[in-house]
Amino acid sequence: MLELDAITMRFGGLTALHAMSLSVAEGETLGLVGPNGAGKTTLFNVISGVYAPSGGTIRFGGQDVGALPQWKRARVGIGRTFQIPQPMRELTVRENLRVAQRFGAGKEDPAALDEILDLLGLAHKQHADAATSLALTEQKALEVGKALAVRPRLLMLDEVLGGLEMATKRTFARTLETVRARFGLTMVIIEHDIETIKALCPRVVVLNFGQLIADGTPEAVFNDPQVIRSYTGDTPA
């Protein structure tokens, strides 16, 4: 479904991604881990079109999407969330989803919105102001909701569980699993919490200094000495 070939991303003198190649199969849930500054979010930004890569190709569903502007990537089915929630200010929760659905999915479908709101537990807050009246969990849920309203085939979640209480985190992880099954999604998840990764992702890749240093099952990856070295204290592995 998603194939990255030799993606390089440079910012001035700094190279954030080194000729990185990665492929994600349809229906797969992939965990993306690595220390801070490893290039995880940069990778998301390159895939979703926030940045144009300095080199390499991005194929999505067999199509080269590297030249597509950001908004068109959403339309071909790449949905993503931001680590720091980016609600559309001035709009209500439901209006946030409406905009995402109208432009990302191409047409409005109130029933589908209801379902998303229900699944994410936002139904009772749908007319609340998105910028000011949501708790952190709800902000995160809205972040996922917007991405879902786009009707993505690939959903990229950037630390969507970060900063949540342990119990909430578990509930949210289950919600994500339900959502994945319901919409038949392929997912890439950036997450620091190993337990969550293990619960959600059959496959994990590790990034360090913009390079892919491990790829495999969670058990294999987290026992890889190179990964442990790179992770210097960042994970309890």
Binding site: S48, V50, P69, Q70, W71, K72, A74, R75, G79, R80, F82, Q86, P87, M88, R89, E90, L91, E95, N96, R98, V99, A100, R102, F103, G104, A105, E108, A131, K146, A147, A149, V150
Partner: protein
């Protein structure tokens, strides 16, 4: 329901009571027509500012292009006036495409790049003598026809025409505002990244607002040309076609649909009927003070009542 009644009463007053009560006073009608003309531009300007998030300092460019397009089509090619006015809007919309490179500029730079376009269009109008009559301008431009038994060239007719134009534009503005396009546009101001990532082509939408705003301004410019029956580059591209609408829009509340129109009516009529009576040749001074005062005290500070009222109006319109 109550809202419907308000609208109905307002329409009856606007179309019925105003012409009946004031129709015989040419002078007052002229001022109201001029105020609505400015109101129309103010509405278009506010649409671009509010929905597109773009503050323009050169709407006179679109006003002038619309006026010239329509006048030339009528005078040289004998188009019917009302059709030519629509073409005037289209002409301004086309001109706005030429200004699109400016869309990538930030706030004040965009505002002033459009100002430069206004100057360029004006100079072109002076130089294209064979088309525009050059600096001498065009005198005796045909006025409005009689439509459905209403002589639109009369004061009352012209009033009804500009009122209809402004109402149509306000309706269109409201429609866009309430649509998902409007939602996306409003969201773009503070959260452009958030909108792009869910598939909103933000630059395209902004460009579309620019085109629509230019179209509206062009139609109003064309209206003015056929109402005053005269054009020259200096007048058609006068900076007052930019400044007065901005003042009106901010005065009335540019985040609302009706604020700009009400602002234009209040600012222009108060200036002409009150200040000018009090200070026949120094009233522009008062206008300058008003403009500055508005910014410092804030639109809701200077006219709190109107501000609150138009806010309520907006939430009705949005519902």
């Amino acid at each position: 329901m109550k809202h419907r009644m308000v609208v109905l009463v307002a329409l009856v007053l606007a179309y019925g009571a105003v012409p009946l009560l004031l129709g015989s006073m040419d002078y007052v009608m002229s001022l109201i027509i001029a105020a609505l003309t400015i109101g129309g531009v103010a509405l278009a300007w506010a649409l671009l500012g509010n929905l597109g998030g773009l503050v323009s300092f050169g709407h006179a460019a679109f006003f002038g292009v619309g006026a010239y397009t329509s006048a030339i089509l009528v005078v040289d090619h004998h188009w019917p006036v009302l059709l030519a006015m629509v073409a005037g809007g289209v002409g301004a919309a086309v001109a706005s495409v030429a200004t699109m490179p400016a869309l990538r500029l930030r706030g004040p730079y965009f505002a002033l790049a459009i100002l430069a376009y206004g100057h360029i269009f004006r100079i072109l109008a002076v130089e294209a003598t064979s088309l525009t009559g050059g600096a001498a301008g065009m005198l005796s431009i045909p006025g409005f026809p009689t439509l459905l038994g209403i002589n639109l060239a009369s004061k009352t007719g012209a009033y009804a025409l500009i009122l209809t134009i402004v109402l149509l534009f306000a309706w269109l503005y409201g429609l866009i505002r309430r649509s998902t396009y409007g939602l996306a546009l409003r969201a773009m101001h503070d959260s452009e990244l958030a909108t792009r990532v869910v598939g909103v082509p933000s630059t395209h939408l902004k460009a579309a607002m620019l085109v629509i705003s230019a179209f509206m301004t062009g139609v109003v410019g064309a209206f003015n040309a056929h109402q005053i029956n005269f054009l020259d580059p200096e007048y058609a591209f006068a900076s007052s076609w930019t400044v007065l609408p901005i003042a009106a829009a901010i005065f009335g509340g540019y985040r609302t649909v009706w604020g700009p129109v009400l602002g234009a009516l209040v600012v222009f009529l108060v200036d002409q009927l009150v200040f000018k009576e009090l200070m026949p040749s120094g009233h522009q001074l008062v206008f300058g003070v008003l403009l500055g005062g508005m910014v410092i005290l804030g639109p809701h500070g200077l006219l709190p009542l109107l501000g609150r009222w138009s806010k309520k109006e907006a939430s009705h319109a949005g519902a």
